[in-house]
């Protein structure tokens, strides 16, 4: 008997409810119709056969790149140890902002510019050692007084990309200056994809 989901068996039971028994590897409860019905048992066996590759797939060793854990831990460590920028000092204490926070401000500001569909992690030329930012915004310290920001974004179509980049640049510079009091010397922008509307 060939069975599949959404069938009704000759005994009147729908096959859908039997998939769980096969997937969980448990039998039908003793005394239930399914436990004593040959049609149901055949269907459970058939679903069990179909589920076997899923079980093998779930148990397979996932081939993580050799350096995956080391890379992630190194990146987290660098974020935690992210450079701090002193933005004000008074007799009542100093205020510092981390590069991580500056990256968040940059990404948030860029996202507000009409024509920006998304901010994405850069896929090409990734330089984890230099990455002190979040959400695709990379912050590099130039000197004590200024920083540079790198952004990778997805743009909406039907617009001038240089104009969009200029608008993003202005918005990022003003947002970081207004919110953190940090001077942004340059903003490098990579447009790595276009958000093409569905034609449907």
């Amino acid at each position: 008997m060939m069975v599949g989901p959404w069938q009704r068996l000759p005994c009147g039971r729908a096959t859908d409810g039997l998939v769980t028994y096969a997937a969980e590897g448990i039998g039908a409860p003793a005394g239930s119709h399914e436990a004593g019905c040959e049609y149901c048992q055949t269907a459970i066996d058939e679903f069990g056969r179909l589920w076997l590759p899923v079980r093998r797939w779930a148990q397979r060793e996932v081939d993580l790149p050799d350096d995956f854990v080391a890379t992630v831990i190194a990146r987290v460590r660098r974020i935690v140890q992210s450079p701090r920028h002193v933005v004000s000092v008074s007799s009542r204490g100093a205020t510092t902002v981390t590069s991580w926070v500056l990256g968040l401000i940059a990404a948030s500001a860029a996202r507000q510019v009409p024509g920006v569909a998304a901010i994405t992690p850069s896929r090409a030329g990734r330089q984890p050692a230099a990455r002190f930012g979040a959400e695709g915004a990379h912050v590099h310290e130039v000197d004590d007084a200024s920083i540079s920001v790198g952004l990778t974004l997805v743009a909406r179509t039907d617009q001038s990309l240089p104009d969009l980049a200029d608008a993003v640049r202005r918005k990022v510079m003003s947002s970081i200056a207004d919110q953190a009091g940090v001077n942004v010397g340059s903003v490098d922008i990579v447009v790595d994809d276009l958000d093409v509307p569905d034609s449907t």
Binding site: V19, A23, L50, R55, R56, W57, F68, R75
Partner: protein
């Protein structure tokens, strides 16, 4: 989960960093691993919502059959078929299924990780399994 090594690195980085920042807010009424799963799942879901190509993308690192002895070929191909079928499930169904089948979490742990009711978890996993069985029953060697 995300079908992309770089996206996985970013998600792991953000999840560990978020956990480090939130450690002080960790309430010990949940297991630490469940709490960490929740942070990672939230990060993955946020990534998936931003993408414009749901349901999931087909993983870039699918097992290939090159150099595989013939006796293992069928197994490799069937695992590949499952990988594709799982990747094509909607995230709402794929994520609880992965937590159940791959991570081995209980239904109530999954409900806690995803912040939904256990009924919702059971329903999503049930539907994911039906979707998978339907797909696999049409892709196997005996398929018409």
């Amino acid at each position: 989960m995300l079908g992309d090594t770089h996206a996985g690195e970013d998600a792991a980085q953000d999840a560990f960093f978020a956990a480090w920042r939130s450690l002080g807010r960790f309430r010990q009424d949940a297991k630490f691993s469940t709490w960490l799963y929740r942070i990672a799942m939230n990060r993955c879901l946020r990534d998936l919502r931003r993408r414009k190509d749901p349901p999931g993308r087909v993983p870039e690192d699918l097992p290939t059959s090159r150099g595989v002895p013939e006796t293992e070929l069928e197994t490799a191909e069937s695992i590949r078929a499952v990988s594709v079928a799982v990747a094509l499930l909607a995230a709402e169904r794929r994520i609880p299924l992965l937590l159940r089948e791959v991570e081995g979490l209980s239904y109530d742990q999954i409900a806690e990780v995803l912040g939904v009711s256990m009924t919702a978890v059971k329903s999503r996993i049930y539907r994911a399994r039906l979707d998978l069985v339907r797909t696999l029953s049409h892709s196997g060697p005996d398929a018409p």
